[in-house]
Every structure is written in C-alpha cells, then in structure tokens.
Amino acid sequence: MSKELIRLRDCVMSYGDEVVLDHINLYINDKEFLTLLGPSGCGKTTTLRIIGGFLSPTAGDVLFDGVRINDVPPYQRTVNTVFQRYALFPHLNVFENVAFGLRLPKKDAGGRKVRVPEREIHERVMEMLEVVNLKGFEKRPVSALSGGQQQRVAIARALVNRPKVLLLDEPLGALDMRLRKDMQNELKRIQQEMEITFIYVTHDQEEALAMSDTVVVMDGGRIQQIGTPEDIYNEPKNAFVADFIGESNIIDGIMRADGVVEIFNRRFQCLDKGFAKDEPVDVVIRPEDVDIVEEAAGQLRGTVTSVTFKGVHYDTIVDFYGFKWLIQTTDYCPVDSHIGIKIDPDGIHVMKKSHYSGMFGDYSSYSEEYEELDVVEPDGEDGEESDSQEGRYEE
C-alpha cells in the first residue's frame, strides 16, 4: 500500500434542502481494498457514483492522481463499476458482454480513433473469463446464467478494461448466504491477483470486516470512522459505529481517572486514557468480553431474562438494574437465575459522548433489534424508484 490515488475533498451532495453527503473528506490508496459501510441512505452509493462519474458533487473536489476530475464523464474515467444487479446486457452473450468495453473505439494521444484488434479482444476476454472461472461459458446468453455466474460476468466485463479502480456497488446483495461467502473470497483473490484498487459498497458489516484493508463507516451523509477492520471493531469512535459493527452493550459511564471508569456506581479498570476527570462517556462492552461468574463473585449482579441457543454460544440477556445487556457465553444460565459478571480491562472501551449517545446499545427490546439487523437492504439508497428493476431480477 503506497501512494494516494483518489481523494474526495470537502464533497457535498445535496438535492434542494436534502443533504445527502455532508463534507466528505476521504483518500484512497493505490491497490487498496476500501469498503464504504453504512445503513441504507447513509450516502455510500452516492459517494461511489461520484467516484464513478455518474454524479457530480454539489461542492468540493474529486481528485484522481492529483488531477481534478469533477467534470470528467464516466466514459473517460479509468474506473469501472460492478453494478448492484450486475446490469449485464441481455441482448449479448457472455463473450460479447465482456468484450463490450474493448470494442469501443478509443482516442489515442493524437486524437485518432483506435480499435483493439479482434485477436487481442479474444485473448483478453478469454483470459478474464478464466480469472472469474467462467471458461466455457462464453457462448451462453447471460439470461441462462445463475446469479453467481452473472456476477462473475459483471466483474470480468469491468476488469477486462484494465481499470485502475474497480467500484463495486453491493455486488453480493442479490446472492444467497453460501454464494456470498464464496464470492467474498473470490473477490479478495481477484483483487490481489489484478493488483488494483477496489472500492466496495455494502451494508453488511461482516462482509466489510472480512474483505477490506480499510473500512469507512458512514451514516447520515457523514463519515463516522475510517480505519482497519480491527480498529473499527475494537475502537469504535462513537455509539453508532459500536452498534453498527457487531453487537455492543453501550452504557453511560463517568471517567473518574485515567484507566478508571464508573458504571452503575461501580468502578472498573480500563485501558482508556486522556479524558477529563468526571467526564460523562459512553462505555462499550462487547457481549463476548463478559465472563459470567457466581453471583457473589461478580462485579455486577443481574437476572437472566432470556436465553437463545446460537450454536457456538448462548445469547443471554441479563437485567442489570433495569438495563439489559447481551452476553454471549458458552455457559448455560437458565432464565430467572441470578448471576454475576466480570469484565477484564481490555474488554471495556470508552468513547466520547456524541449525538448518537443513548440511541443504541440497550437490549431491552432485544428481539426487535435483532430483526432490524437482519433486514436486507432494499434497492438503491438514493430513493430511485424500484420499478426500474421490474422483471429483471430473476434468480
């Protein structure tokens, strides 16, 4: 990972009064796998479309290799996109879909039209079909392919043009769970093999954590946090990030001193420093970082209110003084049993208060929150009518 390739400087996107992107500042390095992660309507697809050239920001600059490209149309950018529903050309077969970009005449330095020779087209297309494991499918009509195969064609069609950057807009959204996992590995492999930059948009945090070099968490048109997957998970900057990435119990606390935080009037050892004395803070405790002990031996004492078997562990909801925590544990504790808990200092993460404080992290309405997390994001997030997809979505 080396030099900077793309930079968004103070990008604002607004439609009338509605601000979709609010002063986005972001840089993307060459050969990086960067993921824009966030819920529906957070601005991630808009950001991608700005980089692709389909939208021009209301204010701010888009720089590519240091050159401002705000007004460069998509067909002149060395960037290619894999679209949400693949957007394969239904009237062309697999080969012709992949060859589409190569067949277009390009202007050379002297402004003359240059065409890629047919032999070269054939070579490059076949090579690319091999990369995406679709050799032997070249004569098939695209409508006769499965979702995963169509996905591969879309990737090959974009990559055959040798872009510097590949943009992927929720490319796995339409696939089932197993296929999605396979394709994640496949994409990562392709990215490493081709040695180009991937900018990946998703609302699926697991996907983001599994594949990315850098994750950009967005919400409400703003970047909430940029960091490696580990950073984002272990050191969320605010309650939104903590909640969006994985499961979190977020509790009001007071920083009594460096390394000491008070929750429910009890002091806990932690590793966080640099807060003012007695500053109110949000405290994140991941469900897997809580150990269940004998009631008497616990730092806190509570009552189990529900238990759900999850395979590897139990999701146990425990009531502490009216505040419900989610604890993931391999120990079975029956409902209504009284338990105690212990938390190691490195299991506690302290965050500054933000406008997200108090909105997340309480498992009082446990089941609903679960459902919410499982919701698959609907079509595009820019309020585009869904009817444009009618009859096109036929796995």
Partner: protein
Amino acid sequence: MKHGNRIGSRLFIGLTFLFLYLPIFLLIVFSFNAGESSAVWQGFSLDWYVSLFQNRLIMESLYTTLLVSLLATAISTFAGTFAAIGLYSLGKRRRDALLVVNDIPMMNADIVTGVSLCLFFVAFFQGWGSFAQWFNSVQGAVELPERLTLGFGTMLLAHISFNIPYVILNVAPKLRQMDKNLVDAAQDLGCTWMQAFWKVILPEIKPGIVSGALIAFTMSIDDFVISYFTAGSSTSTLAMRIYSMTKKRITPEVNAVSTLLFLSVLALLVLNNVREVRQERRAERQEIREPSFFEKLSFRFHHPSFKWVRRGVTAAMGCVFIVVVVLLTGAAYSQPVVNVCSLGEYIDEELITIFEDRTGIRVNYQTAESNEALYSLLKSGGADYDVIVTSDYMIAQLIEEDMLEELDYAQIPNFDLIDPRFRNLPYDPENRYTVPYTWGTLGIIYNANMVEEEIDSWSALYGDEYAGNVLLINNSRDALGEALLYLGYSVNTTDEAEIREAFDLIADANARGVYQAKVSDQVFQKMEGGNAAIATYYAGDYLSMLENQADGVDLRYVIPKEGSNWFVDALCVLKDAPHYDEAMEWINFMASTEANLANMDYIWYASPNTEALEQYPAYYEENSEDGEPLDPELYEIMAPPAEVLERCESYVVLPQATRKLYNDLWIELGA
C-alpha cells in the same frame, strides 16, 4: 348438466364469433362474385380485382395511403421513441401523469381529433396568411406563399400526431422493464450517451419500437375520419375513396378493395402478435438450448465483424425507403392539377382518365353530399377546390356572396354548344360565372308493386297510406319545396306563414311515422332493393335505379300534377382558384359533346349540350349490349319536353332571412 353447460357456452362463443366475422366473411366471398349482386352468388371470378387495379382513382388513393402511412410511421416512430425515453428521464409522478395524457388522444373520438385538427390547421393558415401578407409587403427578397390549404401535408401531420401516442405506448413498457443501470454500465465501459443509446437502449427496446411502428402503420392505413377532415380537397386515402364509392350502392369493387384493406391490416396484426408470442416464449425459456437457425443467422449478422454487412443492409433499406417515398410523391405530385368537387357520384370516371391523358393535367375528384353540405364545406375554409358543380339556387347564393370567379369564355369554346334554353338563366343572368352541366326534374319515384294505385300527387308523401315506407329527401330546399307545391304555393315564396304551413305538413307526417328515413344517396339502395315504396329524387337518378332494381321491384317516375322543380346544375370556379387555367380546360372538356354523351349514358342526367341531346338516342343504341334502341318514354323522363318544364318552377336564391328560416326549421325537424 355440466356437459350441457359446456355445449351451451361453446355455442355462445361460436355465435359471438359468427356475429363478429360473418359480415367480413360475406364481404370477402362476394368480392369474388362473378355478378354484380351482393346477395346472390353467380360464380367465381377475379374480375372485380382486375377492375380494381385498373381503376386509376383507387390506385392513386392507394399510393396516397401507403405514402402517408409510411411517412407517418417513420416519423412518429422516431419521435415517439425519443419522447418515451424523455418521459423515462422524468420523475415517476410526472411520468405517470404524462403517460395518462398520452393515453387520452388514443381514447378520444376520431371525429373530435379530426375536427379539432381541421380547425387548428385552418386557423393557422389564416394567421399565416396575414403574416405572409405583411411579410411580403415589408420586404421583397423572399416571397412567402400567402395561401396555404389543407392537403397531403396536413394529413401527414395529423397522422403523425395520432400515431405518436401508440409508439410511446409500445416503447414505454420496454423502457420500464429495462434495467436503468444498463445505460450507466455502458457509459462506465466507455460509451458516450449516444453510443449507449445505439448499443444498449435500442437493442433492449427494439421489440417495443417495432410493434409501435407496426401498430402506427396499421392505424394510419385504416384511418378514415381523421384523414377525411385533414386531407383537404386534393388528397384521398383508400378509406376515403371506399367511402365515396359506397354513397349510392356497394359495388363488388368496393368488396374487393375492402377485402384487400382488411387482409393487409389483418396481416400486420398477425405479424405483430406472432412477434410478441415469440418474445414471451423466449423470455420464458431460459434454459440453455441450441439456438435455432434464424437465431444463429441473426447472431452471425449481429457479430461485430459483420458490421459492414449490417451497415450496408441498413443503408440499402434506408435508400429503398427514400426511393419509395420519392417515387410515390413523384408519381402523385409532379403534374399540374385541378381540384374538382361535385355532388354525389356525378361523372363518368373514365372521362377523368381521358382528360388526364389528353392534357397531362391531374384531376383530384371529390364529392359532396348535397348543395348545402358543399356550401358549409366552402364556408369552413377547409377546401380549396378549383371547379365545383352545384345547383342553380346555390350558384345564385355563391355569386351573391362573391365566392365565384368569372369564367374566361374565350378558353371555353364548347360553351357555344350549350342550348340557348340553358343560358342566361335567372341564377346567372349575364352568364358570366357558369357553364351548365346537367339539367332535370325532381319527381316522385315509387315501387308500383308496393302501392295500390298510380301515384300522381305530392299528397302521397303526407298521408298515412304508405306510413313507414316513404323516404323523405334530406335537403331542406327540396323537401319544403314539395310541400309548398302541394299546398299550391310557389317554391320560391318568402312568406313565412306559407313556409311554416309547409313545414307543419312535413313535421306532422313525421310525427305520425310516415317517414322511414331522411335520405340522400342512400335512396338508391333503399329503392332498388324494394325496402321503401315512395321517395322523391331526381329524374336521372331514377333511370339509374331502374337499371339496378332488384327482382320484384317495379320503379316508376312521376312529375306530380301540382308541378315540380326543374333545375340546372352548372360548373363554376371558386374565387382565387389556385389552378384557374387548368379549371378552364376542365370546364371546356366537360362541355364537349363527347363528354356530355358519355355522362348522359353513365349518370342518366340530361345534358345542356345541343349536339349531345340530339345524338344521344343513336349513341345509346350503338353502345347498348344488344343494340336495343332507347325507350322514348325514358328519354322523355331524362330530358323532358318544354310543356313539362312549363309545369315546373326553378328555384331562385332566397333572401337571407328565409334561408335562415329554412335552416332553423330543418334543424327543428331533427334526425
């Protein structure tokens, strides 16, 4: 029970389809009939098709129809496709609203579309006229035409305007089905918008465009009403030609041309449906399969290395289209023309061909229902005829309103052949505007097999003896004239009380159900077929009916004892006629002995040409199939002697107030 139901429902379906298709089936069958009858099969023959293709007027209207349909289809397909794409770039709400707006013209009554387009064009032409006049007066460099008229151009515009919604309707769903990201994807891969349109949008929506074009073409080909109102006086489509041919009676020739029209529209619809079904099947069948021969061929054809072949084929098709258009236009529009309008089917059409061959002047021949209909057509500004044929009283009115142009008699030497009896008549006392065309009498035509005694009085029209079997002539002047004669008044009275008395006589009989219908040229079919007992019409038309009367019908003609009307119909030229010299040539030709003889033989109206009147009996004998001589009694009906004319009165133009009274009363009588 169940079984019975099924038979019942099948029977019902059968009857429904029988009801739908039997008339068309009969039409097709009788187009192959050897005889003239539309009811009795007289053996198979293709004669009517042969005569169809030899009929210059029909072939010409076929050219016009194809030309207007092709051009309108091409233009509206282009415009409609881009309009649909434009619609899809709008927001959903505005797009849906506009799609509803798009539906309205298709659901709208054709007659409303036609009339409104006609009014629009006429209003525009008037505005244009003032503008062009002003423009020409302030500068001399460019001369703008000051007078525009309805014609091929306006009809084409009308066809384009009613075709566009059909194209949009067919293209829009394809656009809706199309993945919006396709265009983005194409641009992302290096296409400009235009390249994306050609390479991605067009192939995707092509089925919609093709079916839109097919439907537009079908709509254009079989349109009658809108064309009728926007074609003006010089242009007729096939449908308009068929309509004018059916005014008197439906000849097997009409069957033949209608059959061809029906079959071509059917073929287009079948083509369109087959295409749709195929596409649906293709969409359903997504499994991998060996492509069919045609698909392989089509794939080959669409392969990039065949680009030049493809471009060649496209270019060739484009050239063919242009050549066809040029040929069609050229064939129709390179000659000098004269636009003629006449009453009913009022000419031996072979004369038109003879005239055209001899002079090279093209004749656009159209017909009007009645004098009054012609008058309102002229007043509406929707017509630009050069020559019209109309009746004496109407001529007087047109002269009064300064709507006629004086004739240049130096260019009409044949005027010398007109019998002095028919010159300087009251409607044109100095004979500056007219050349008489025909003359004759109004009388009662009755079916002797349907009445008790011989009829000799107008009273037969008002009594109850033949209630339900009397046809009232649909023309206020004649109908009220007959009543006035019966009451012993003059046909030219201006006394309101007398006119009202005459009207009450008719209205009363009408209320008692005496009249079967009000008719103009429909009288032919009714009387010839024996569907009515009594009618009033013109002597010449009686002779024509006599020739075509069905078995068991015995038609007689009588000029009632109370007297009747005798009339002269004459050729005249409208003010500012665009083709004045051609009009003079046409009038001179129509006044010739040759034309008058042919016309007498064809329409059975008496000629005002002295030579023709003398020579007609011999001409008849020579031309009749078995050399049979002309029945003098019939000739007397056709060209009655002086003493009969003395019993008759000719119409003179009525003062404005009386004309208005006539008009109001006629409207009061209702349908």
